[in-house]
Symmetry: C2
Subunit: 371 residues, 2 copies
């Protein structure tokens, strides 16, 4: 019988995630499966929690990978912290801010959106004005907007909220592991990420962290969390405490892989990892500009790990990306929503963020664009 897996090529993943996976992470994935209540597996779970706390710069005891992809992390934060009619302020300057609004609205929140032009960051003054207009239970913002490549001023928003009773929710899907995410210093109450971006693990897990204050809000809910699978109180009984209580069967091998990718970051040193992302980003931007290409985002707000460039006039968007994929074995990302057909997104996430990969994509682009 034909086995399609035999035809899986090694592609240089320079899209918006998944990113390239280190050989040792693939090896971790294929370690022997243990039971989800096995004492040795529980030790691995504990180490994953410790590693995650380090990379998130938090002391939060409730710091675990959710058994789903990044969007399951988003769902987890909203469904646990929000009840029907709770007022929530969602800042939007891209697809993932919009997604948060959709998630919150489906859960019955009174979700107000404050929108900013895509490709620009949210503006603190306008956020403060809007936030003061109503007593919000929670404010939600995306740190690194994957759809545009913009870095939002999450630290400043945290400063504004400090000492108030508004919960602070940050989407760190694309930022975590590639730039500083200082959850405690920034006063973040809930944070979620994904395994397949700068952590360079295959997709399938969503690291989340809840502050003690956030957990108190969960404990004080008037209604049960309307999602058994993502109920953080039930998950706590499996992931924390002395005697573990079975909840659902954890994705064992994916957790091995996450362990290994976090170990790689520890071994390299987080500062070195961040520097590598920044260096690759600078090399890429310089190279793109040398080809006469233009970046979408102004230099002050660019993400190192997600680089949006304007598709030059007259170039066939899909045709060029297909050539990159088929001839050069490189994946780059298309634009989303209003930016579809207008930008390309080049990811430099985790293991992908290396000078040789930047050189390779620049050479390929030069060829494909005939420059």
């Amino acid at each position: 019988m034909e086995n399609k897996l035999d035809g899986v090529e090694k592609v240089l993943l320079m899209g918006p995630g998944p990113s390239c996976v280190h050989e040792s992470v693939y090896a971790a994935l294929s370690r022997s499966t243990l039971g989800h209540m096995d004492p040795y597996f529980i030790e691995i779970m504990d180490d994953v929690k410790t590693f995650l706390r380090t990379v998130m710069q938090t002391q939060n005891r409730m710091t675990i990978p959710i058994s789903g992809t990044g969007s399951a992390g988003m769902e987890t934060c909203f469904v646990n912290l929000i009840e029907k009619d709770d007022p929530v302020l969602v800042l939007i300057n891209g697809v993932f801010g919009k997604r948060m609004l959709d998630v919150a609205t489906r859960l019955g929140a009174q979700a107000d959106a404050l929108e900013f032009e895509w490709g620009t960051p949210v503006v603190l003054d306008r956020v403060e004005e809007k936030w003061k207009s109503r007593h919000y239970k929670m404010l939600a913002v995306v740190h690194a907007e994957t759809s545009t490549g913009v870095r939002n001023p999450v630290e400043g928003i945290g400063r504004m909220l400090r000492g108030t009773d508004t919960l602070y929710l940050v989407d760190a899907v694309t930022s975590l592991g590639g730039m500083t995410v200082a959850a405690d210093d920034w006063g973040v109450d809930a944070l979620y990420s994904g395994s397949q971006k700068c952590l360079s693990c295959p997709p399938g897990l969503a690291p989340v962290s809840f502050s003690d204050r956030a957990l108190e809000v969960v404990t004080g809910r008037k209604t049960k969390v309307p999602n058994w699978y993502l109920d953080i109180s039930l998950l706590t009984q499996y992931w924390g405490g002395k005697s573990r209580v079975y909840h659902h069967t954890a994705p064992i091998n994916m957790i091995y892989a996450l362990y290994q990718s976090l170990l790689l970051i520890e071994e390299e040193g987080f500062e070195n990892v961040c520097r590598r992302h920044l260096d690759s980003h600078r090399q890429l931007v310089q190279g793109l500009e040398a080809l006469g290409l233009k970046m979408l985002v102004s230099p002050d707000f660019r993400l190192p790990m997600l680089n949006s460039l304007l598709i030059p006039e007259g170039v066939d968007d899909a045709g060029a990306r297909n050539r990159l994929r088929n001839e050069f074995k490189i994946e780059i990302g298309a634009g989303l929503g209003p930016l579809a057909g207008k930008i390309w997104r080049i990811g430099l996430m985790g293991h992908t963020a290396r000078p040789e990969n930047v050189t390779r994509v620049l050479r390929a682009l030069k060829e494909v664009l005939g420059r």
Copy 2:
């Protein structure tokens, strides 16, 4: 730095899942990650859908693996099909029936429970009587109750519901891939399973299937599905149709693994797979009885893949299981809920269901129990 993964032992997984994983499935897991919109990956997705339809015996076009473990499949079925105040009948004779009740109740359903003694199957006459007492939108039952080892008469219930407007939801987490699950013949409208039982793939995916009638119910909802991540209409746009619309980043490598485990079933032939489960089951029961041990479930309702035996008096439950795990490298399952401390659960799921494994666990039990 110490790498805890180096200490992961090869354990014979004879608990209630995860089950043993074939070497080729581990190899599939560690194939190069592709992008979630990559045309070649989409071909693999399409084949996974076809394989799943075969093993579920259904023509349902909406047959996909959900990006979460088995319980996420349960959540998916309820959250899409049920709205607030919908009357639902849940049949309960174990942990997983209770879990369905919890999930339905959290979603605001008017969920009625019909309970049966744990270790015995649900009784058709009583089901019919209860079902006739109210106009139920949905009836939910567990096919193979993993907490007890009981097979429920899902075919008979399907016959009772045929031609009525009650939706029929079946939990096939433990049965799928190890015994017949004839979704279409039985009139099942929604079905969910898990990757880590008889499909013998690591945990992390939940195959689900929705009939066209179930999809019409979703389309006709008065309210949006209060779960963005598991919204089946959004998932359809990614998993089906000609042009795929990005929803969330699929767990690529887990889907490779599921592909490979389904391919193994195709290659062996489903009838042979079922026979292997049954043969292993018979060998096990015979061996246990020869050791003077007693089964919980009467012969007519036993599952081949999940065998519950009564812990003999005077035996230290946890102590014996620890010896099996540590000395013999075999995991068996503890009892859950009211059966904790009273039964052990020996899984013969997928790749685990082989004569040499049965022989090995019987020898180990003989030693540990001093028989």
